[in-house]
């Protein structure tokens, strides 16, 4: 025979239900810090691709566009592990608290960011994202001794116009301050 405790619980339950009204009301729990749809801050993103390296499921990929690099997040494959947020040097990528992500098309489950690429002044090919070069220059100047700062800044401006291959080829023909250090 059923226990009295259960019967009491059933009568208690009749008076009170714990069900959410979700599709017609707010969700049952609103938790701060829920790991939902990933999002890129287009201002901050430099297109360095650290997130694509760290991504545990290859949901984030770097694609080469015409003259832009595309950071492509396919959250139909994302594991919502937050590794990208951990490694991003610019805090540009983060997981939002949005969870209503369903869609009719597989290809609609994407978030993109295009980062413009610099063209090499010598060969005309694209090589690095603009923003990344800016950041790189800034970082170098921050960490360098004050006495050679002005010289290095001039050099950086010259170097940063060329792609890696051309820089190597041209470095000895270019008239730069750093050359004399060798």
């Amino acid at each position: 025979m059923p226990s009295l405790v259960l019967l009491k619980e059933m009568i208690k339950a009749l008076r009170r239900c714990v069900t959410t009204r979700y599709p017609f009301g707010p969700p049952a729990t609103i938790i701060h810090g829920y790991r939902g749809q990933p999002e890129i801050d287009k201002e901050k993103c430099t297109g360095c691709g650290a997130c694509a390296q760290a991504c545990s499921t290859e949901a984030i990929r770097m694609k080469q566009g015409e003259d832009a690099r595309i950071i492509d997040i396919f959250y139909g494959k994302c594991a919502f592990c937050q590794r990208c947020e951990d490694v991003c040097p610019e805090d540009a990528i983060r997981l939002t608290e949005r969870f209503e992500l369903a869609g009719y098309e597989r290809e609609s489950l994407r978030v993109n960011n295009e980062v413009r690429m610099s063209k090499c002044a010598n060969c005309g090919h694209t090589f690095f994202p603009d923003k990344q070069i800016e950041i790189m220059k800034k970082r170098v100047l921050e960490n360098i001794k004050a006495d050679i700062k002005a010289e290095v800044q001039v050099d950086l401006e010259k170097y940063s116009r060329y792609c890696v291959n051309c820089r190597r080829d041209l470095s000895f023909t270019m008239d730069t301050h750093t050359r004399k250090w060798y």
Binding site: C17, V18, T19, T20, Y22, P23, P27, A28, S56, T57, E58, F74, Y75, G76, K77, C78, A79, F80, F99, E100, L101, A102, G103, Y104, E105, R106, L109
Partner: protein, 160 residues
């Protein structure tokens, strides 16, 4: 036909096909039945019998081993039916499919991307790893919106 469309929307019976996932999505689907989320208030019943059901929920990356079974379940479901792919694995193979590595045990398409839609046509994709029950309910709501477009096939197919 208004009455029939209304009735179909109000009474989606579900069959859940576990196709080799990690169980995360499956317990979230089961959690959707329980007091906190209770999808019976939307008319859903988890029937686990393809003959009875209108909505086929697929979880997991569909290993080749399960592929024929999934196809059979799909064929056994009477029209009109809706197929939902729940979780990353069912959408594109998720963590189990990697570029540059040929995962021999998982069904994949030509572009090396996995997913349930390589085996049966999928109507609604619900991302999340796993999606929380609210997200599943949201996906179900989207699926029901699409239901009136589905028509009976001209000739009822005889399946085993």
């Amino acid at each position: 036909m208004g009455l029939i469309d209304w009735a179909r929307k109000k009474s989606p019976w579900i069959t859940h096909a576990h196709c080799g996932g990690c169980n995360g999505c499956d317990i979230e689907i089961a959690a959707a039945l329980t007091p906190r989320f209770d999808i019976e208030r939307l008319g859903c019943l988890l029937k686990n019998n393809p003959r009875y059901s209108d909505v086929l929920i697929i979880t997991g990356p569909v290993p080749k081993h399960t592929e024929p079974m999934l196809l059979r379940i799909y064929q056994q479901t009477p029209d009109p039916k809706i197929v939902m792919a729940i979780g990353e694995c069912a959408i594109a193979g998720g963590i189990y499919v990697e570029e540059g590595y040929d995962n021999y045990s998982i069904a994949r398409g030509a572009d090396n991307a996995g997913g349930a839609d390589k085996v049966v046509p999928v109507d609604v994709y619900v991302p999340g790893c796993p999606p929380k029950p609210e997200a599943i309910i949201h996906g179900l709501a989207l699926a029901l919106k699409k239901l009136p477009e589905k028509k009976l096939k001209a000739k009822a197919s005889n399946t085993r």
